[in-house]
Structures are given as C-alpha cells and as structure tokens.
Amino acid sequence: MREVVVISGKGGTGKTSLTGAFAHLASNKIVCDLDVDAPDLHLLLRPQAGRTEEFFSGHVAQIDNRQCTGCGLCASMCRYDAVRVDGNTYSIDPLRCEGCRVCVAFCPAGAVLFPEKHCGHWHISSTRFGRLVHARLFPGEANSGRLVSVLKQQARQLAKSEGKELILSDGAPGIGCPVISSLSGADLAVAVTEPTPSGRHDLERVAELCGHFRIRLGVIINKFDLNPEGADGIEEFCRSKGHEVIARLAHDQIVTKAMVAGLVVTELPETDFTREVRKTWARIEELAARGKKS
C-alpha cells in the first residue's frame, strides 16, 4: 500500500482542487482529507453521510465556584493566562486553556474540574470516487495533529480491509502540528506551489520539513504562467535540492468553474489543462511506486 500526501505550505495554491482531480483519476484507493481545520475536499467530492464518530481529545479546566476559595494560586501558576478574575470570582477561558492540569493538581480546595474535551467529528463517507475519510474540528480547537492521526489510522484500516493499494490525502497548509502529523508514514509528499514570493518561500519551508522527516518530495508548480521566471527559479531550487518537479500547470479559470459546479476539473470536457492534470497524476503514481526514501 502507498500513501501520497498533497501539501502546500502556502494556502490557496490549488492543493485541494488538484487532490480532487487525483481522487477522480486514481484507482483502487481511499481518499483522506487531513486539512481538519478548514476542510474543503468534500465540496468537490460531495460525500453521502456514512459513519460518524465523535472526537475527544485532551481536557479543559473548569472552576467550581462553590468550592473555590479565591486564593489565586491557579492564576499565578497558569502559563497560558487562561485564568480570569472578576472581583473574587475565578473562571477559566477555555480558548486559552492548554489542558495541562497544573491548576487541577495544585488547587488546595480541589475546586478545578477537568472534563474531557469534545473537539470535533470524523466521518467515513461514500463518494462517486470511492470512500472518503474526513473530519471537522470544532472552531478554535487545538490538537488537530491527533485528529489527523486518527484519520490516518482509519484510512489505513479501511485500505487494508478493503484491499486498496493507495491512500491519497489532502494535507493542511503550514508546517506545524497537523502537517507534521500528515507526513508521518507517507511514501511521497506532493507540494503544490505557485511562482509568487510567498509560494516559493513556503515551499522552501515544507521542503526542509520533508527533509527533516526524510519524506520524498515532488513539486507541482501551479499557475506557472503568472510569473514564468519565478517558476524557473523554483525549478532551479528543486533541482539543487533533489526534488522532482512533477508538472508546471497554467493558471486556468476552469478550476474555479469546476469548483462552482461541485465537480473536479477532470470531470469537465477535456482541455489542454485537464490533459496536463492527467499526466501529472500518472507521474505521481510512478514516483509513489518507488516507495519510501531509503
């Protein structure tokens, strides 16, 4: 079984639109949306509700005001500035609470409760391109990295039990916790970038991250025609670092058109652009078949 994760560093480079097209083109696979913070792949894949599970992770402190003596020890020990004082009434700001349990452990009155946190939902759904494993973290929640791990475990189990050969994942933007979690165990990371200063800068950062975790990286330069020299510069960078440039794709409004129709771009009548996307996917399959970096 192979795992391909599409990432980008910078948001808005076309990662999800391309992943949607790859989901159409790939055969015998499970599709996974690991951008649990702001997932969009379902807008293209339009899943039918299947199995839904609640996601609990970590805890949040709560002060029981009947027990609280107002000593203020919790406020002085909290490193996250999560304890609010209003006159003599103490409370915890759940958005700031890190769930570290320090206030719970040290409160001399035993006044701090520590319930488990319900952070979101995850789903296994059916789509016209097969199964989709996806989730939604509630707004403002942390621990997206753990939810990403849960999704990957589910996708792997499903792939195993149904004899699928590929897990295709849409990763999160950035280089932090959810991205690191997305990359673990991947055979190939595909970074979608664009020839803008931000695209280039953030590509360099995800490339370094992949190097750090020894993940093989291929690069798609999307919207290359907005700045052909910039695209050349990115190719030069990739060559020097040993990352294959899988494709250069033009900036084409057909992508937005497909999105508005709730379709992936390769479902529209064939054009030069969609032919390029098909070639791109064929190349990704070849690269993924080589397996993990040794």
Binding site: K10, G140, E141, E208, F213, H251, V260
Partner: protein, 293 residues
C-alpha cells in the same frame, strides 16, 4: 488599535490586504506577521530587520541523582513529555507544552528548567512602519507558544509608542488562528467568492463570532466564482468593507512581489477606503454599505 487580518481559507489574499493596508495606513503603525508557520508579509513590505532573536519554551531537565522515581511528574503531564520507566526518567522535549507542572510538582526538586527553541522573532522597519514577525523553527509542531511571545512583544511596542497594529494572522479557524485574533480590536476577514472561500469563511465567522469583536469582510478576486458570499453577508448583516476586483495584472504583480496598493491609483483607493471603513468599524459607527449593495 489592533487590526487582525484573518481568513478561514489560505491563499485568499490575507497578506496582500495586510501589506496594502500597511502601505496606506495614515497613523504610526507596526505591521506584524503572526502566521509563524508560513510568514510572508516581509516578502512584500521588505523591512530591514534590525534585531532577531531566538524564542524558547521551558522544558524539563531531570537530575536523576535526586529523583526517587515517585511518578508525580509523569502522572501530572498531559502531553506524554516525561515518563518514568523503572529507574530511568525519559523526557520527550518536542512533546512538552511548557506548563511547568513537572518542575512544580516534583517533591525531590529533581527537575529544573531547560529550553527548546520555538523559532525566531524578528523586528525591523519598512520606511516609517515598524515590523515584527515570528518564524517557526522547521520541525517544531507548536505555533501558539511562539505566537504568544510575538504578541507580548507587540504589547510592549504598543505601550511604548501608541502605534496601531496590523496583524497578518494564520489561516484556518483552529487554535493558532483564534490565538492570533484574540487580542485585536477589529477583525477583517479576507475571502474570495468561490465555494472553498465561502465555506471556510463561514467556519471563520463561526469561530470568531464568540469573541464579540467588530468584524468586516474583504472580498478579494471579486468577479470570479459565484454570489453566495454576498447573500450570506446580507442575511447575517456582516459588513462588506471592500471588494478587490480580480485582474490578471494584479495576480502577476503579486507574483513578482509587488504590493497591490502600489499597482494603480484605483487599487490604492480601494485600500485607503478600506482603512477608513476599519476606523468606522472600530468606532462602532455604522459602516457604510459596500458599493455592491
């Protein structure tokens, strides 16, 4: 006044808006990049960085000669960053959230503070604008602790100089994004009129509404996609502060590192008018209806 420029979906033009607003802002300003995973504002404002220093988080260092392996530290730790196996104490520095609990709870005083690098905090100037940014170390998973330190530095600057701040927030609606907009006076949500843009805009609206701060919308790449965002904003009484029309020349200018407000007098006027509407929004006065209405 602190203005947070945020968006649910990445790549909708947050940095474009932050850079352009910084360019036309009339009052003394500090421009801040809190998108520490993928900081881009400096690529457009091109500040001279005068000061850069590492930011750290406190992590435990165990003196095993004093440890009696009582397990108090590993029982307390919620992040599996410290674990006692027989007569060996293992610490997992990269898992540590820096709560200080293990150090405080240890009855033997066997744990002392060490540190892990979170990234860098840079400070400089772009013309008359002060500039502040965080840059997460590659391989570091936690952005909120670094963001907290950048924000605390921002607070010092604001207290010392009385400057306004324009903050480029990270995309998304989870913990880092909420963390970024939490201390602001006004939130400007940048979106694009596409299904992805609209979907993530609704998530952001839902995430930030409980903060009770004045919020307005900038619709970037107006003219592409569909009209759903407009009907939603009208229905929910969310003010559309400006629309930045989609023009290929703007996309090309941006691709070459230009600030959109510098591309033409028309673009500049859009951001001058946006800055005035932000002041109105902050003052709680009724925001003028955007031109589309």
């Amino acid at each position: 006044m602190i203005v947070a420029i945020a968006s649910g979906k990445g790549g909708t033009g947050k940095t474009t808006v932050a850079a352009s607003l910084s360019r036309v802002w009339e009052r003394p300003l500090v421009a801040v990049d809190l998108d520490v995973e993928a900081p881009n504002l400096h690529l457009f404002l091109r500040p001279v960085i005068e000061e850069s220093s590492a930011a750290w988080i406190e992590t435990p260092v165990v003196d095993e000669s004093r440890c009696n392996f009582c397990l108090a530290c590993s029982d307390l730790c919620q992040f599996k960053a410290i674990s006692v196996m027989g007569s060996v104490v293992l610490t997992f520095q990269e898992m540590c959230h820096g709560c200080g609990g293990c150090i405080a709870v240890c009855p033997q005083k066997a744990i002392s503070p060490g540190r892990r690098e979170l990234g860098q905090i840079g400070w400089g100037r772009a013309g008359n604008t002060q500039f502040l940014m965080g840059r997460l170390r590659i391989g570091e998973a936690m952005s909120p602790p670094l963001m907290r330190q950048v924000k605390s530095r921002l607070k010092d600057i604001i207290e010392a100089t009385g400057r306004d701040a324009i903050v480029d927030a990270p995309p998304g609606v989870s913990c880092p994004a909420v963390n970024a907009v939490m201390g602001s006076d006004v939130i400007v949500l940048v979106t694009e009129p596409t299904p992805f843009g609209f979907h993530d805009f609704k998530l952001a609206w839902e995430a930030f509404s409980p903060l009770g701060k004045p919020m307005g919308v900038v619709i970037n790449r107006a003219g592409v996609g569909d009209r759903k965002i407009y009907s939603f904003c009208a229905e929910m009484h969310i003010p559309i502060l400006s629309e930045v029309p989609y023009e290929r020349s703007a996309a090309e200018g941006y691709a070459r590192g230009r600030i959109v407000a510098d591309l033409s007098p028309e673009f500049r006027n859009i951001f001058v008018s946006l800055s005035l509407k932000i002041f109105e929004l902050a003052a709680g006065s009724r925001v003028l209806e955007a031109t589309h209405a």
